[in-house]
Symmetry: C2
Subunit: 336 residues, 2 copies
DNA sequence: CTGTTAGCGCATTCAA
DNA sequence: TTGAATGCGCTAACAG
């Protein structure tokens, strides 16, 4: 429907061959300045734009990078996406975004679809990645980089974060402030990173000689509402003085739960999150949290994918990035 | 790189012609069950996937819908995007998402790029749309639907919201509660909807016999931080009892500003927002706000675009959707 | 119901 | 420095 003008028309109008137009348009050398000028002029006049489909068919590349995210509503994935987009802006690649909506079946379906030659490479954010899907990817030889897979050992190039030390550091911060009764809010069970973060919490506690009281640990979904609900119960029933959450969204819900119990943050109760989503800074009081370099992860993943697409060998199969404790105003010493 | 198996190979292996394979694969009628079965079997065995580029070249369609959003960080655009994605999921169209990052130049560049045959149609969220860009779109005859343009009268199919009555209703809610000193936080100047919302506020006040005190009206950027800053000043210097914001993000910032001034919401101070972003419900106290049907706007826009792509005439050039006042817990009667 | 012919628009190869 | 021929993989139109 679009791009009505073809290279042939430009060629005729400019009195040269299609080949010459092609060369000039794609900025190849080998064309006199005079010819180049005329071709460009005619192309502009006619409003010529190369037909992507034809170009793709010829070159075997689409100029598209596929990205499959869990959904398009959660900031976690979107921050990564921004990093990807920023990196891709420089390369001549566009982003084709698909969501799997937390459904393994749909994830497989989307991957299969995109792998059908639509994209030159694939970026997966927090995918489930069943064995069958991995097999498909390998068979197709489709360049692919995985960010934060559920199972950390997937046999594909991947980028993860040092969840263990991040959570230890976050927990340690509360311990240093003098807290001893610290609650923990785990995210959903099926992610390996959830367990790793919890281990970081446990170890920090144990090494400080503190007990991890079983009733102070609860599991909930990765949502604000679930964090609110679960924390309400934890706080009202067991009265800890601080809470560590496996994700900012949970921490944010928990803070509001404390507030609705009439507690003041951080005077009466301290909170530490994990992620450092934009909301963490845009809340009152600002949320102390363990920062994942989400934007950076996106950029690094995109960069790795681009080099894979160019046919280069990857420097490393697995890249683990560090975290950083961001201290804001949701933590303080426990009430006397 | 991907999709190595071609239709010819499948045809040979199955002992039929390429045409037959093509028909079977695209689910066209006219193929005996037996043939169909065999073709499908061979295709599966070989892992055949049609090459999109070739298909696109032949059919003149890419199966891609372009979407240009301001950026990928603000929930406003993302809610619309979700609506679009939901609608497109049913059609055989994929979404190619681009961001313009609030830059008119980049917006034009992106549109020009996508219009080069990459997409079958274009959805624009809150675009600037310079005259030149509109001209380009028309020349290319690229199907296009605009959501919430800055200038409401762009000569393209468009979907907007009834900003005027929405804001009147939101303001009226505060008036009904007994507020008389009501502040107003305007969003950035260059959007027509900003002015229209403000007019709704003014009219509601005037019709209730209330004065719109000049010092109680302030303009700020569409960000939480800017809302926080501006509201802090407004509240501490002029002591209104309620504030209406031209966007939820501003209201959320304003609420935290009130809190940081030691005020309790809604007992000491009431707030009304505009948009009903997910954050409005996920905050404490829940934000009373004027709901824009963002998801619905996305769906309707996508639906309209799809019919345009199918070559059908549009039922209407301009569609204005209604708003709804969502009363949560950020509003109450003014302190005695 | 199935096969043949042709060509979408471009870029690679080679020749001029 | 430029041009002619060729084919990427697929499907519309028609013929058998």
């Amino acid at each position: 429907m679009a791009g009505r003008v073809t290279i042939a028309q430009v060629a005729e109008e400019a009195g040269v061959s299609a080949m010459t137009v092609s060369n000039v348009i794609s900025g190849k050398p080998g064309a006199s300045d005079e010819t180049r000028r005329r071709v460009l002029e005619v192309a502009a006049k006619l409003g010529y734009r190369p037909n992507q489909a034809a170009r793709n068919l010829k070159t075997g590349r689409s100029g598209l990078v596929g990205l499959i995210a869990l959904d398009l509503t959660n900031q976690y994935g979107l921050e990564i996406l921004r990093g990807v987009a920023d990196e891709l802006a420089g390369a001549e690649q566009e982003l084709l975004v698909n969501a799997s909506y937390h459904d393994a079946g749909r994830e497989k379906d989307r991957i299969e679809f995109l792998a059908g030659g639509l994209v030159d490479g694939l970026l997966l954010i927090a995918p489930v990645l069943e064995d069958e899907t991995i097999e498909l990817l390998r068979r197709r030889k489709l360049p692919c980089v995985v960010i934060d897979p559920r199972r950390l050992d997937v046999p594909l190039p991947r980028i993860t974060v040092d969840n263990y030390h991040g959570m230890r550091q976050g927990t340690q911060h509360l311990i240093d402030l003098g807290h001893t009764r610290i609650a923990y809010l785990r995210g959903g069970e099926d992610l390996e990173s959830t367990s790793i973060r919890f281990r970081g919490f446990q170890d920090a506690m144990r090494l400080a000689g503190l007990e991890v009281a079983e009733e102070l640990v609860a599991t909930c979904d990765f949502t604000y509402a679930s964090g609110f609900r679960t924390a309400s119960r934890l706080i009202s029933e067991h009265r800890p003085t601080a809470l560590v959450a496996g994700a900012d969204l949970l921490a944010l819900g928990a803070i509001d739960a404390a507030r609705s119990c009439g507690l003041t943050v951080p005077n009466d109760f301290s909170f530490v999150g994990f992620d450092d989503l934009p909301q963490a800074a845009q809340s009152f009081p600002g949320l102390t949290t363990v920062r994942q370099p989400l934007h950076d992860m996106g950029q690094k993943a995109a960069l790795a994918l681009l080099s894979l697409i160019e046919g280069q060998k990857l420097l490393m199969e697995h890249m683990e990035l560090g975290t950083e404790l961001i201290i804001r105003n949701s933590t303080a010493a426990p009430p006397a």
